[in-house]
């Protein structure tokens, strides 16, 4: 291979990191000291954390070769369950509420798994259906309004308020989940099986891997992580509502962008984390510079298009696809 080809390889593999550095540099030059102020950085870390956790969940299921279109609703459900349980006067244990959220949303993931693996509905459609049903239930439960209570324990916003080493707990949690996810997917046997099932399920069956079991684990893990992301989101906004949370398309976007990092089209945690950071810097930075909301959409569209096009041209057929039929 000529030297030129290897340079372009590096460019393609590290495109996301390069964009991240360039974007940050531009904001620092344009925004000056204000962009580096404490509140700004904390805002960026907060939005990275909520979006990133949802992305990490989606990365797990995407690695298994399935799609979870219900991540948006799972995130909302995590927040709503936690908030609504604490509305009850006799229920004031925050950790218990969080546990209930994660378990119940995990059960939603189990339903997704059953629909996909037992009824053989393509995961894309099955999760779409689940998302519609649960979204409706959440609206019924909260009467489609923003729920907020002064009686909520202080712990409800602790993730956002409390800092360790000047960095909010929410970001430490995000880091812990990302590292945990990375170790799970790359270093444990189950995690390796998830990746293999995503690449070639038939071959996995033939060598004796229980693909259904592995995929079920992936569905439940994804849902539980995203549900916890919802709890984190609720602690940032200090309220819950059936229409707020992390947008499903934003979640898909960061996993897609992340997939272009290093692995040339395969969803991976490191890429997802970087992409979440990039998204957070973009939206907070543009707001800081007084740019309207659409600027972020346009830039995001261009970055995804360029990143995936580069990979599509260099390595044909390695990008993730989803079956719809």
């Amino acid at each position: 291979m000529s030297e030129k080809a290897s340079i372009s390889d590096i460019l393609v593999n590290y495109f996301l990191l390069i964009v991240l550095v360039v974007v940050t540099a531009v904001f620092i030059i344009a925004g000056g000291k204000g962009f580096l102020s404490g509140t700004m950085l904390i805002n960026i870390l907060r939005s990275t954390s909520t979006l990133g956790v949802v992305g990490v969940g989606l990365t797990v299921i995407w690695g298994a070769g399935e799609m979870d279109f219900s991540i948006g609703t799972e995130c909302t459900a995590g927040a709503v369950i936690c908030g609504m349980l604490l509305m009850n006067d006799n229920f004031n244990s925050y950790p218990l509420a969080v546990l209930c959220s994660v378990v119940l949303v995990g059960l939603m993931g189990l339903c997704n798994a059953l629909l996909t693996l037992k009824l053989h509905i393509p995961s894309f459609i099955a999760t779409l259906g689940m998302s519609t049903i649960v979204g409706g239930i959440l609206k019924l439960w909260t009467n489609n309004s923003v729920v907020y209570s002064k009686n909520w324990p202080d712990a409800f916003t602790a993730f956002t308020r409390v800092s360790i080493l000047k960095i909010p707990v929410i970001f430490w949690l995000f880091m812990a989940i990302s590292i945990g996810g990375y170790i799970f997917l790359e270093k444990t046997r189950t995690g390796r099986y998830i990746g293999s099932a995503g690449i070639n399920a038939t071959a996995c069956k033939q060598v004796g891997i229980n693909v259904n079991k592995v995929k079920t684990i992936a569905f439940v893990t994804c849902a539980a992580i995203v549900g916890f992301g919802g709890v984190m989101y609720a602690s940032v906004v200090n309220s819950v509502s059936p229409s707020s949370g992390v947008n499903v398309l934003d979640g898909i976007c960061i996993v897609l962008m992340g997939a272009t990092f290093l692995k040339g089209g395969q969803a991976n945690i490191l890429g997802t984390v970087l992409a979440a950071l990039l998204m957070a810097i973009l939206s907070n930075g543009l707001t800081f510079l007084g740019m309207p909301e659409y600027a972020k959409d346009i830039l995001q569209g261009i970055i995804i298009a360029v990143a995936v096009s580069a990979i599509a041209i260099k390595k044909k057929g390695t990008l993730p696809t989803v079956s719809f039929g």
Binding site: I133, N144, A305
Partner: protein, 328 residues
Amino acid sequence: MEIQTSNGKKSGRFKKFIIRYFLLIVLLIVGIMFTLFVPSFASPSNLLDILGSTCITGIMAIGMTFVMITGEIDFAASAELSLGGCLVAALMNIKGMPSYLLAVMITLALMSLVGLANKLIHVNIGVPSFIGTMAVSTFVSGVLRYVTNGIVIFNMKWPDSFRFLGQAYVAGVIPVMAIVFILVVAVAYFTTEYTKFGMRLRAIGMNPVTSRHVGINVKRYKTWAFTICSIVVGFAGIIQVSQLNMADPYLGDATIITCLSACMLGATFYRVGEFNVLGSAVAALLLAELSKGITMLGVSLYWRNVVQGIVLLIAIGTVSMIRKSHNG
């Protein structure tokens, strides 16, 4: 993916018939159940209203079906819906725009550009349509918000023709939307089922590699599919703006899920396991029937989402299970 049954056996043929028209049976059962609770549900004017209210989702789903028949997806559909609606409104606001018809024509012509953008990134560059159209979608909705400043376009001086498509009634009872919907279904059905063009689209969806080997220009047909989709979805946007008498840049934001639901449900009907125009139309009708019926029952509107999801899963689950048991 036709279901294999032994020819001549009556039970097999009956089963095949049931699977093929399962969605229509669901449609009828749901209709009868609503009528039992609310007798006025079955009145002709109400049924026509339901048909009319199917129009926007239905036409959008039919546009999407063209792309899905070829085995691809157009995630930019929601942005296309908003764009179509806002373009026609913005054009009507230009001083000296001679007629509404001209504005519609220009809008549809501009809509084809979005289809070509999807085509460029998928067909020419080779990005999977699932990802490529999502990038186009983000980009288009950003541009749209830039052009409209993120606010609703509204003008008192719009002529009556602006509201004709979405608000007028023929003979006092038949909504124009219902007629437009039936016309679009008829044309799309004929195109996909009875022309060489439609057969080739289906062939590509079943097996793009074989299609290329037998000499079908896959790239050209996919280009057509994406372009038709963006134009048809843009037209749905025009109708919605006409119905609301204003254009909101956030118009289409929540529509992609309903549109995909209709297409997926539709794949259980008529051509089982394949996306098809008739199926998408019947599925859109079922979704409209559910939301109208639930509104008439007087229960909380949010039950609509719950019921929609359950119907989606039951219909697709049933067909998937039957197919699995047939194929062994």
